[in-house]
Symmetry: C2
Subunit: 226 residues, 2 copies
């Protein structure tokens, strides 16, 4: 810090400028950081550590689930003749940096997605890397911008189970406003029991990745514990 | 401009500073604009004009389709026992500020989505307002952060039709890299023939919005022509 101060004073003297350029530079740097490497959900800052090597499919998939916080949950719509119905939802797979890989949701039957799932559990959940800001200057459909679709069964989590406590903490810690959502709407915790994984994170088609490889991946591998 | 130059010179003289603070201020302002009101897809800047009144369902829906550029396209997966399969895709509904409301896609049968659609046309397309940055400090699942799911049939657009030219121009003008995607992958233009609209843009459940109201909406209403 002393070194930085000295350099700053030398620049001020040499160019005969005040502290204004330094304050503006600081603001500019803060602004750049905001749009590139830090995400904020209602005031809580999530740092995005190094994106895993695309060859490590399990790491990439778990990183994507851990650092994103919303996606599209797809169910079979009984109201619309069995059409696939996608819905924007928030999710969490665990406390910060302790993700389980299993996405949990907070849904109400006032919304078609929960109603559909209670009639037909078949579902998929799709998440894109694009909103994380780590794709660089490529299109959201470019294969180097990761995307994952987890297919399986969308199930209600029993309110008396230990998993319910885990899931609720996971959701409320990542989405602060959820704890204030209207009690009368009867929000319930759902989870996706994953049966199949479709991951694109580079050229050459979907990655080979089993559910076991995905779930067994340890979060402290590849340095993405913060 | 002359007035601005004079003010700048007076500040430079009074505070004994050079042009550096002004350059940094300009960078900072550009940076601020980038993260709040302008979206960039590969170099083309899309300005987001005023978000429509949530009470105007047709305007909100068409605004969302016009200003976003990616979403999740959902089909019925024959490979996965009829499960709904979501996939991240780029889209366009028209040339900039001339959107038709009909989303067009550029897909290859190397990807399951196009293969699924050729076997079973039932599909939905889901877009969130969240990545536009206009939701404020609310959760992506908060009803004031708009989301739309268009349900219908995903159809191949005939390469000899006028619609094909329109759709290709719409796609290539919004997603510059598409024109360089590998010829050998045999990308084709698809469109969603909309049969039902699910729009949430405020509290109180989905908006009443017919396909006719949505398609008939004129882009120069509510001041969102730029």
């Amino acid at each position: 810090m002393v070194g930085l101060g000295l350099i700053m004073m030398m620049i001020m003297k040499f160019f005969r400028v005040g502290v204004a350029p330094f304050i503006l530079l600081l603001l500019f740097l803060l602004c750049s950081i905001d749009s590139s490497s830090v995400l904020q959900v209602q005031g809580r800052v999530l740092s995005i550590s190094t994106k895993p090597d695309p060859n490590d499919a399990a790491a990439t998939a778990r990183w994507l689930l851990s650092f994103n916080f919303w996606g599209v949950l797809n169910t079979i719509s009984t109201d619309l003749g069995g059409a696939p119905f996608g819905n924007v939802v928030s999710y969490s797979d665990g406390l910060p940096n302790q993700g389980s890989g299993i996405p949990y949701f907070y849904l109400t039957t006032l919304d078609p997605t929960a109603r559909n799932a209670l009639k037909d559990e078949r579902a998929s959940f799709t998440v894109s890397e694009y909103p994380l800001g780590t794709c660089g200057n490529v299109d959201p459909e470019n294969p180097t911008c990761s995307k994952i679709s987890l297919t399986g069964k969308l199930k209600l989590v029993d309110e008396k189970s230990k998993e319910f406590e885990f899931a609720r903490n996971a959701l409320f810690s990542k989405h602060l406003e959820m704890m204030d959502w209207p009690v009368g709407h009867n929000f319930q915790v759902f989870k996706l029991e994953i049966e199949n994984i479709f991951l694109i994170d580079w050229f050459g088609g979907p990655k080979q990745l089993t559910v076991e490889q995905y779930l067994d991946f340890k979060m402290n591998k590849n340095g993405f514990i913060l």
